[in-house]
């Protein structure tokens, strides 16, 4: 095989390999997901984070507007303090509320921002006052169980005398 043919095939091979890399980084890993432009920081305090992690998306109306930059525990108030890095082109009223939500049943957790109606906007370093922590499944289940058992107890108590009366 002569040299030009080999060069051609090696060229095709390298081009294919680079195309595979581009495919992996753009289509599979979504390289564009990184916050590219200027950003500003917001903090929010939550009573429970659930499984929220650093780099989790911050969404408003379902659109990714930023990422979670930092998660730490405040030993004074025993709350979790989350730092959000929001893109500068998105501005939110100062009475915006933050919620920790789950995407799908098995999905990752993210921070949802629900804009309020205030005229002034949140500035860099501001804190979001209205927050709602993650709904932890175990708490929900125990609450449900507790309520249902107490409910049936009440029912029994209420029915008790009646049953006796019938007998």
């Amino acid at each position: 095989m002569n040299r030009t043919t080999i060069d051609l095939w090696v060229g095709i091979f390298v081009a294919l390999g680079l195309a595979a890399l581009v495919f992996l980084s753009l289509q599979v890993a979504n390289l564009t997901g990184g916050t590219s432009g200027a950003t500003y920081m917001l903090t929010a305090r939550f009573d429970d984070l659930g499984g929220l992690k650093v780099k989790a998306p911050v969404k408003s109306a379902g659109v990714v507007v930023g990422r979670v930059a930092d998660v730490r525990f405040d030993n004074q108030t025993f709350e979790a303090v989350v730092t959000l890095r929001v893109e500068k082109r998105y501005e939110f009223p100062s009475d915006t509320s933050a919620k920790i939500l789950t995407s799908g049943v098995l999905g990752d957790q993210y921070v949802g921002l629900l804009p309020g109606g205030d005229i002034e906007n949140l500035q860099d370093g501001d804190a979001i006052e209205l927050t709602q922590g993650a709904i932890v499944l175990e708490n929900l289940i125990s609450k449900f169980l507790f309520n249902s058992t107490s409910g049936s107890d009440d029912k029994k108590e209420a029915n008790g005398p009646e049953d006796e009366f019938e007998e």
Binding site: I6, W9, V10, L16, G17, L24, S25
Partner: protein
């Protein structure tokens, strides 16, 4: 009762022999790397080796990648559908290919397709005294024969690994979305949110690069050290494939424990 002394002596001898081989292989690698400029100064030689190691392995890599991805699609769908989360199929296919199967299976195929060929070629050159003839003509066989083959393999391996991963994901897509009917948008968007460029994709490419160095090093060393007989060359070729496979799997465990555990 068996006498323990000869057994211990055999154990000692085989340990010393293994250590000696390891040391020799390391010195051989250093000599090869030192001749890197020679390999790149005579670029057509290296390009030729990329052709033999890379382009000729394309068929087996692409076909295997497609089928591995298709099997992952079928098996993954079957399992995920039980939990009612078949949309996560994209994540399963992409992460298992990008992190593990892509680099490892591509390296195993590369070792058996290209590594064995390199060993057999160099071993036969040695058996037919071509290497000695080169030395007689004051041509360093490491610079002329070994370094281009080494770099050809090292450069081809990451490209092959990426191609394997990419075709595998396309295979998973074909089965999952086109044949079974998982939602296409969910398939890609869940994959994109789960796969990280640096953490997953680049670590996978780095893995292939390390495997490429290991496999090609073993292949050129076994060829260069093969006894110059027909039997010796065939034994060296077998050893290349077996040692490469074991080294790839062991290295994969070590690299994975460093990359993905925190």
């Amino acid at each position: 009762m068996m006498n323990p002394v000869p057994m211990l002596r055999r154990l000692g001898a085989s340990t010393i022999n293994a250590l000696w081989r390891l040391g020799f292989a390391t010195r051989f690698l250093i000599a090869t790397v030192r001749h890197t400029p020679a390999a790149f100064r005579r670029l057509p030689l290296t390009v030729r080796e990329i052709y033999f190691a890379g382009v000729l392995s394309l068929t087996i890599i692409l076909v295997s990648g497609l089928f591995v991805g298709m099997v992952l699609g079928l098996q993954g769908y079957d399992t995920l559908a039980r939990f009612g989360s078949s949309e996560a199929l994209g994540v399963l296919v992409a992460l298992s290919l990008v992190r593990e199967l892509g680099p490892v299976v591509a390296a195993l195929l590369f070792a058996s397709r290209a590594g064995s060929a390199i060993t057999a070629e160099i071993g036969l050159m040695k058996a037919t005294e071509q290497l000695d003839a080169m030395e007689m003509m004051a041509v360093d066989p490491i610079a002329r024969v070994i370094a281009p083959r080494f770099w050809g393999g090292v450069l081809a391996m990451p490209l092959l690994g990426m191609l394997f991963t990419a075709t595998g994901i396309i295979g998973g897509f074909l089965i999952g979305v086109v044949m079974i009917g998982v939602d296409s948008g969910q398939f890609w968007s869940q994959m994109q949110s789960a796969v990280d460029l640096r953490q997953d994709v680049l670590n996978g490419v780095f893995k292939s690069f390390v495997f490429g160095i290991a496999v090609t090093w073993i292949a050129v060393f076994e060829g260069f050290e093969a006894p110059p007989t027909a039997e010796g060359v065939s034994g060296a070729t077998t050893r290349t494939v077996v040692t490469s496979a074991l080294v790839i799997l062991a290295l994969d465990f070590v690299l994975t424990s460093f990359m993905f555990m925190r």
